[in-house]
């Protein structure tokens, strides 16, 4: 019986992730594509300039530094629509599934929260640890900015930062729960949150920087616009996921006989 509840939560999590992904795609298309296109224009202008300079010197053919002018396997109109949608939707469904299972773990174990509130907190925690904290150390970079030679190092550091941030978040919740009987819920939460911030700050200081990620001369306003758009995409994704999944989980679990939720909850139709 519990297994089927977990399965039902998982299905709803992936569905909520899909809906959240569609909203995030809309934001990415409207707010994110202009700075992406702007960055590609900067990249092409730089490549053209480099090619011209190289052409002026004897010996260097125009073919040698043609890195910026590579033949595109996928056209820009496809990249900015179907390609973008694929990436955002797969991300939404995959993380929606993981978040639904994280929700299944924490439900009833982190305090007196309804399923809806638990879902909102799970989404907020996922946004913070999976995106926001890694973003503060290794912010998203638009096309043309990264140095291809350091992609391995940057990818490793980015995934390491996500892993570290998620583990620190879990540790903070466990520590908060342990401290709650002694300090009370409010103070235990403050202490756990402060611990998370301090240890995250130490990790920021110790982990290497990505100085080489940004080429000199790249327009600062364009970089800012791109990063704000990236933040908006993720904020919308997780807010939508938390609200949609919370509503679905609340209805599902209110219908479950074992779960005593609020009397105010309407008797929900049985959802399998």
């Amino acid at each position: 019986m519990y297994g089927s509840t977990v399965r039902s939560l998982l299905v709803r999590g992936m569905l909520a992730g899909l809906i959240a992904g569609l909203l995030a795609f809309a934001v990415a298309y409207v707010a994110g594509e202009p700075p992406v296109n702007g960055s590609i224009a900067v990249e092409e202008a730089q490549a053209a300039q480099e090619a011209q300079e190289a052409g002026g010197h004897a010996g260097h053919g125009a073919a040698a530094p043609a890195g910026g002018e590579e033949e595109e396997a996928v056209s820009r109109p496809v990249q900015s629509t179907f390609g973008l949608a694929t990436g955002v939707l797969v991300y939404g469904v995959a993380l929606g599934g993981i978040a639904a299972l994280a929700f299944s773990f924490v439900l009833g174990r982190v305090g007196r929260f309804t399923p809806r509130a638990t879902a909102a907190l799970t989404a907020a925690a996922a946004f913070t640890t999976v995106y926001l904290v890694p973003f503060l150390k290794y912010p998203a970079t638009p096309p043309a900015v990264g140095n291809p030679d350091t992609i391995g190092k940057r990818t490793t550091l980015f995934f390491l930062m996500i892993l570290l941030s998620v583990l620190l978040g879990i540790a903070a919740v466990i520590a908060g729960r342990r401290l709650a009987p002694r300090l009370g819920n409010w103070n235990a939460t403050l202490v756990a949150a402060a611990g998370f911030v301090v240890v995250t700050g130490i990790a920021f200081a110790v982990l290497p920087d990505n100085d080489d990620a940004i080429k000199p001369g790249f327009p600062a306003a364009l970089l800012w616009e791109f990063r704000l758009a990236s933040l908006a995409v993720q904020a919308v994704l997780w807010a939508a996921f938390g609200l949609v999944f919370g509503a679905l989980a609340q209805r599902l679990l209110a219908a479950r006989p074992a779960a005593a939720v609020t009397p105010a909850d309407r008797t929900a139709p049985s959802l399998g």
């Binding site: 924490v106 009833g108 973003f135 819920n185």
Partner: protein, 75 residues
């Protein structure tokens, strides 16, 4: 994540703690779905960037814009 510990703000006398689900029931789903989801995220976030399972650039190019805007290092 730590704010998940707050309870006073939300609880009202009518709210009971929802019954938790046994870890035994969640674990198999978590393991299998976690694995599948990580593979999917790898293809969105890193394939044909830092490492390549498939030759060429098509996967990278297809998810290119999403990879940048979702915050992954791309190139």
């Amino acid at each position: 994540m730590a704010e998940a510990v707050v309870s006073a703000a939300v609880s009202t006398p009518s709210v009971a703690v929802p019954a938790s689900l046994p870890v035994r029931a969640v674990l198999p789903w978590a393991f299998f779905v976690g694995l599948l989801a990580l593979i999917a995220l790898y293809f969105v976030g890193a394939e044909q960037g830092a490492t390549s399972l498939f030759a060429g650039e098509n996967v990278h190019e297809w998810v290119h814009d999403g990879r940048h805007l979702l915050g992954f290092p791309c190139h």
